[in-house]
C-alpha cells in the first residue's frame, strides 16, 4: 500500500496542527490542534508498521491512551482557567510572561 503517500499526508496534518497552535489564540482550538498533531504521528506509526512490524500499531494504542488522559486533564485545566478569567483566549493569561 502507498506508504510514502501516507507519510506525506501525516507530515501535512502535523504541520497544519503546528500552524494552528502558533496562530490561534482560543485555548480549546489550540488543544484540538495538538490532538491533530498526535493524530498525524499515529498515522506515521501505522504507515511504518507496514514496514517494521506490528509494534507500530501497538504504539498507536498507547498514544491514544495518552491523548485521552491529556484531553481529560487539559480540558479540566481550561475549565478552571475559565472560572478565573471568564475567557479561553490565551492572550489573557499573561501571568508568566516576562
Amino acid at each position: 500500500m502507498m506508504i510514502n503517500e501516507a507519510l506525506l499526508l501525516s507530515a501535512f496534518l502535523f504541520v497544519i496542527g503546528a500552524f494552528g497552535v502558533l496562530v490561534r489564540r482560543n485555548a480549546i482550538i489550540m488543544f484540538l490542534c495538538i490532538e491533530l498533531m498526535l493524530n498525524a504521528v499515529n498515522l506515521t506509526f501505522v504507515a511504518f508498521s507496514r514496514v517494521v512490524g506490528i509494534e507500530g500499531q501497538l504504539f498507536v494504542f498507547f498514544v491514544m491512551t495518552v491523548a485521552a488522559a491529556e484531553a481529560a486533564v487539559g480540558l479540566a485545566i481550561i475549565i478552571s482557567i475559565f472560572r478565573h478569567y471568564e475567557s479561553v483566549d490565551v492572550d489573557n493569561f499573561n501571568l508568566l510572561k516576562w
Binding site: M1, M2, N4, A6, L7, L8, L9, S10, A11, F12, L13, F14, V15, I16, G17, F19, G20, L22, V23, R24, R25, N26, I28, I29, L32, E35, N39, N42, L43, V46, A47, F48, S49, R50, V51, V52, G53, I54, E55, Q57, V60, F61, F62, M64, T65, V66, A67, A68, A69, A71, A72, V73, L75, A76, I77, I79, S80, F82, V88, D89
Partner: protein
Amino acid sequence: MSLVIQAGAGRELGNPRGAVVTDVLFYVFAALALAGAMGVVAGRNPVASLLSMVLCLGSVAVIYVLLEAHFLAAVQVIVYAGAIMVLFLFVIMLLNLGHDYKPDLRVTLWLIIPVAVSGALFAFLARQLRGADVPLDTSGQAVDALVAEYGAIGAIARPLYTDWVVPFEITGILLLVAIVGALVLAKKRV
C-alpha cells in the same frame, strides 16, 4: 468497510481494479482529512472546528483501514471521534462558547513568523519521511501473516499482553491519575 477489504483482497490476487479502487479511496480520504484539518485551524466557531476535526479523524480512520490496521480504525472512531471529541463538545457547551466568541485569527504581518516556522517544519518532515526509503519489506507481508494467523485484534493483543505488558499496566495507572487529576482540577473547591 467491506468494500475496502474486498479491494485489498483483489489487489493481493493481482486484480488491478482492486488496486485502483484502493488508490482512489486513499486520495479521496486524504483530501477529506486535509480539508478537515484546515477547517479546524480556520473555523471561527469552536463547534465548527470540532466538527471539522471529527471529519479529519474519520478520514484518517479510513486510511488506517487502507493500511490494513482494521482494529485501530475502529478504536480511532470509537475513542477519538467518539469519546474525546464528545468531551471537547461538552466543555464548549459548559463554557457556553458556541456564540459571542470573538475572532482570534488576526491577519497581521506577524503571521509571517508562524507561516515560516510551519514551512520549515514541513520541509524538514517531508525530507525526513521521504528519505525513509529503508531497505526493508514494504509489502507488509509480516503484518498480514500475523493478522491472518491471530485475527486483527489478536495480532495486536498478543504482543500487548506479552512483551509490552509493563507499559500496558502503566497505561492503566496513567488513566487513573488522569481521572483523579481531572476531578481535582475541575472541582469547584479543593
